[in-house]
Amino acid sequence: MAITGAFCVSVNKELCINARMPGKCATCAEVCPHNVYALDVQTGEMSVINFNACVGCRICAEFCPADAIRINPAEPEYITRYPWTLAAIEEIHYKAQTGEYLLRGFGTQGQSPNFDMITVVPSQIASDAPRDKYREECDLEVIIGEDTCEKPVVLKAPFVWPAMSFGALSKEAKMALAIGAAMTGIAANTGEGGLVPEEQWLARGYNDRQMTNKKWEPGGYLIIQWSTGRWGVSADYLNSGDAVEVKIGQGAKPGMGGHLLGAKVTEDVSRVRGVPVGSDALSPCRYYDVQTLDDMKHMVAFLRDVTNYQFPIFFKLGPSRPYADVSACIEAGADAISIDGMVGGTGCSPDIVTQGVGIPTIACIPPAVQALKDHGVHRKVKLIALGGMRNGLDAYKAMALGADAAGFGSAAEIAMGCRVCYACQKGNCPYGITSPRPELRARLDPLVVGQRLANFIHACTEEVKILTMLSGHSSIKELSTEDLRAMDLNTAAMTGLKLCGYERPLPIWEEAFKKPGGNGHKKVPAERTSQIHR
């Protein structure tokens, strides 16, 4: 949920047009979707009537023609009253009043182990010499499904847009992501909410349905998601993209299916998903049509068959038991496996699940890599790291830990204009990213925002290139854990990286390296990989 009362709204009356000339300006009330401001129709005066409703999206400050509004976080609350912060108090009051638990959009809040306590080791005289970023080439390409399908996905940069569904995102946001992918040669993803028809041609770089007029080079790819809710899924749907992704879970709510609240189930969404307008679309937490690992293998087999053996098959995992889960995906026949850490984003999830379930991305990657190595398919079956990636530095660290590519979900939303107010589930996004309301969606121009997304990917690509080359490599395929060091004990223990200064992995990891899978991550026996609970 949005943190109630976490922001101070202050209006400079000397600058405010309304304060000086009542009735002449009501911009803040017009743009605020959370009713923080109110206009007195009698006097024409504007006032802040509901401080607690402010979610910190800052749309009022952005639109204020006089630059009179400031939205500041009420940070001292968190220091002085912790753990009984205003947010905690309001949460208890809410539950006491309504009997309902809280829902939240976007993702986790607060500190959790992340890439910040990992540093990159540059090349100097005793190692391979650094490469020259400005005058030498660097291979950033990632090929998925090279040996297993007729049309492999060839990412021009080692990034994807992770699955974000139509419904969770507006149609315009989906189109912008497709355009961004086309401009940079990466892959967009339908998410589980069915296909926005425009995605098919925009993601490939065309601006017409017949795909005759290529507008954006190099052109990207569209991953078609196959999920537990099976919204809008048909044989034609599966054949409308370049890859199929089998969703097992996601970082923000592993163990639960997708949530789309009734407020966001409009006519358009209802048509695709088959859910009545206004009724919650809640995906099952598991596949009703998979009970065993063998079933999953059969599912992969018929997905390949229905798509005429053309496309690679991706799996998407939530952060649970990476070694065992990745092993199961490999055995099921995956060409690529996305693993989404607990910081991964969401359009809607129970607050406690997003905040308190799953393991961090940095702790997901090493056991996933170990599983790939133990099966002899590391760098063949591609590993895509998701969850809290903010820039090329995070992506580089994920790739040096052993991933082949990284995904930017939350960062993509921010690149589209999101200010992180944690209220995606309400359908009132003032930037039109997660809202189904036409007047809010009109604020998002897919062409403009698609360019912003492409700019973001270009910048991150350059960042990865800089780091790869200063580490003495000319290809991301050469990256290894030797290019990283942990800066604290927790990170060293979680990742197995060498600790700065100590220059060795912690003894617990040195012991673990002596046997395959010995780092405490055991493969779960096949009979226990059942999806069914009964």
């Binding site: 048909s234 088959g274 099952p284 049509d289 009970q291 079933d295 599912m299 018929f302």
Partner: protein
């Protein structure tokens, strides 16, 4: 009629043959119990499966007619969007899940989770169904001539569920409604078309109590 023997052939080979050969005349196939996903994504034609069939028969069916002379394993006609599947014997767990359209007729009985998340198909079971049949159904018709197990039509959202016999328990968000003339005509039509001997007037009609049943 051509008869295709699937013995010792793999799914890729058989489904490729089906896509090429299923045009005007029906095609008969035998020895398919080990093929899981037979007839995946077929768009037209008529396939007759002689004997028992494996899992995921007719998955993602998009217009073909598939007849099975004996029983089918799990997940019959999973995620079908159009077409018809007729099973002369029984269907195991999860028949007709995630279907958007088309018709499934099981002349024997069907297992647990039959017609789960049905989104528009007509699914007729002439015998009994197991537990949780019709779970989270969003559209379409489910007709069970015999008895049903526990949690029948659990969290039904939309669509019509008809039950000829008794059930162990009804699921959440269900209520009984009297049969209308329209319902009786629909049931009569189904029984005549698929030659099922039953009296529509003895059926119970189960509908959703609310379109918004979930608690957050």
């Amino acid at each position: 009629m051509d008869i295709l023997d699937a013995q010792s052939k793999d799914l890729k080979t058989i489904n490729k043959i089906l896509k090429e050969k299923l045009n005007g005349t029906p095609l008969k196939i035998k020895n398919v119990t080990k093929l899981h996903g037979l007839g995946a994504g077929l768009k037209h034609g008529e396939l007759i499966v002689e004997g028992n069939a494996g899992d995921y028969l007719g998955v993602l069916n998009a217009g073909a007619t598939i007849r099975v002379t004996k029983n089918t394993a799990k997940y019959l006609a999973d995620n079908m969007t159009s077409g018809m599947v007729i099973v002369e014997g029984n269907a195991d767990y999860g028949a007709g899940q995630y279907c958007y359209g088309g018709t499934i007729v099981v002349r024997g009985s069907a297992g647990d989770f039959t017609a789960t998340m049905n989104k528009g198909a007509t699914i007729i079971v002439a015998g009994n169904v197991g537990d949780e049949a019709g779970t989270y159904m969003l559209k379409g018709d489910l007709v069970v001539v015999g008895n049903a197990g526990k949690n029948f039509a659990n969290y039904l959202i939309r669509g019509n569920v008809y039950l000829g016999g008794e059930c162990e328990s009804y699921g959440h968000n269900t209520k009984l409604e009297p049969l209308t003339e329209h319902d009786l005509a629909a049931l009569r039509g189904y029984f005549e078309t698929y030659q099922i001997k039953s009296d529509p007037t003895t059926f119970k009609k189960i509908v959703a109590a609310s379109e918004k049943p979930f608690y957050h």
